[in-house]
């Protein structure tokens, strides 16, 4: 039921319904009757039909160049690599900043521990150097003791150097495992 037919047929809402094809048979009849009388609507309706036809029958755009895919993929992979490098650099900078801030705030406590460790290592190194000098002196003086002295020097190296401590623990662990495997057998 149309409240105001003449106003309605010139409204956007009516025209949208005409374009979508949602008029009732009664409204369609009214519309056709109006078109027969209204030159402006008839012209506009014909123009809209022409637009619709033009758009629907338009030739497709041209095809892309043959090397387009290759160029695009190259550009993408290049940018991805740049991003990875940037992430790595930013990560290192952040790590450096965190370490610097950490050292600035906790450096006093850490430096004491580092000093103690340094003294331990250098102390051991001094002790080891002195021991080696003694053993070499003995070896030169009493040549028959050479193999024994070499053995003692090697053992001392293992126990007194920091990496020797790790090697000692590894050796002890391996020996324990071997004994356990032997006991199980």
């Amino acid at each position: 039921m149309l409240r105001d037919p003449i106003a309605d047929v010139h409204s956007d809402a009516w025209w949208m319904r005409v374009c979508e094809g949602t008029l009732s048979p009664q409204e369609e009849a009214h519309w056709q009757a109006h078109l027969a009388q209204c030159e402006a609507c008839r012209q506009e309706w014909a123009a809209m039909a022409q637009v619709d036809m033009l758009l629907r029958t338009a030739a497709p755009p041209p095809m892309l160049a043959l090397d387009f895919t290759v160029q695009t993929v190259e550009r993408i992979t290049h940018k991805q690599k740049l991003r990875q490098m940037l992430r790595f650099v930013v990560g290192m900078v952040v790590l450096g900043l965190v370490a610097w801030i950490g050292w600035a705030y906790f450096g006093a406590a850490l430096s004491g521990a580092v000093r103690a460790l340094t003294v331990m290592i250098s102390g051991r190194q001094i002790l080891f150097a002195a021991l080696i000098r003694t053993l070499v002196g003995l070896a030169v003086t009493v040549k028959s003791l050479l193999p024994l002295l070499l053995g003692i020097a090697s053992t001392t190296l293992l126990f007194l150097m920091p990496n020797g401590i790790l090697a000692s623990f590894a050796l002890a662990w391996l020996t324990k495992r071997k004994r356990a495997a032997g006991a199980a057998a």
Partner: protein, 194 residues
């Protein structure tokens, strides 16, 4: 997300190649209609595809991929249109000032002339529209997207899409009426009516 898309996100060249090959033409079709010039449309297409691959982590795998990549392309084209200086570029124009038909595969001069005429008409009509309306028209008529998918690309509601489609067609119709082109059908149009 499909497996090959995940691989593309991680930089696998084969997967990236597949993604680009699958979507380059639909993206180019949109860019060409929106920008009206082959070289610029090609640049915009490449830019859109690069952005799409580099931002795959932002893609919601629950939704279809095509509207998502077309949205990126549409935004790229709208940015380029807004950055354009208000001077008509001579790129792509032939000696007579008409938009040059770039396909190069028309079989005969008559057909090429017809295509050029049609292209000029369509491009003039599209240039008269705001960028968003141009996107809606292109997606509706040439990409075959549904109203929902157009909404995914443009961020508009279905009623807003219908309204924009109607207003865009009306503006283009007024251009035709204004230029007195009504009734002077091209040969293609006569064949269509027949």
């Amino acid at each position: 997300m499909e497996d090959w898309m995940l691989l593309a996100q991680r930089g696998d060249e084969t997967a990236v190649n597949r993604l680009v090959t699958t979507y380059q033409q639909p993206v180019f079709n949109l860019c060409y209609r929106m920008l009206g010039e082959y070289t610029e449309a090609e640049d915009a297409t490449q830019e859109a595809l690069v952005k799409a691959v580099l931002n795959l982590h932002a893609y919601d795998a629950e939704r279809p991929f095509k509207p998502w990549v077309l949205r990126i392309a549409s935004n790229e084209c709208i940015d380029r249109i807004r950055r354009r200086k208000p001077v008509v570029s001579l790129d792509g124009m032939g000696e007579d000032g008409a938009w040059e038909w770039q396909a190069g595969h028309s079989p005969n001069p008559e057909s090429e002339m017809l295509h050029r005429e049609q292209q000029v008409q369509i491009q003039e009509m599209l240039e008269s529209l705001p960028p968003l309306d141009r996107t809606v028209i292109t997606l509706f008529y040439w990409e075959g997207l549904s109203y929902t998918e157009i909404g995914d690309v443009t961020g508009l509601s279905i009623s807003a899409i219908k309204s924009r489609l109607f207003r865009a067609r009306r503006v283009m119709a007024q251009l035709i009426v204004g230029s007195n082109m009504l009734g002077s059908k091209t040969m293609e149009e006569e064949r269509y009516v027949a």
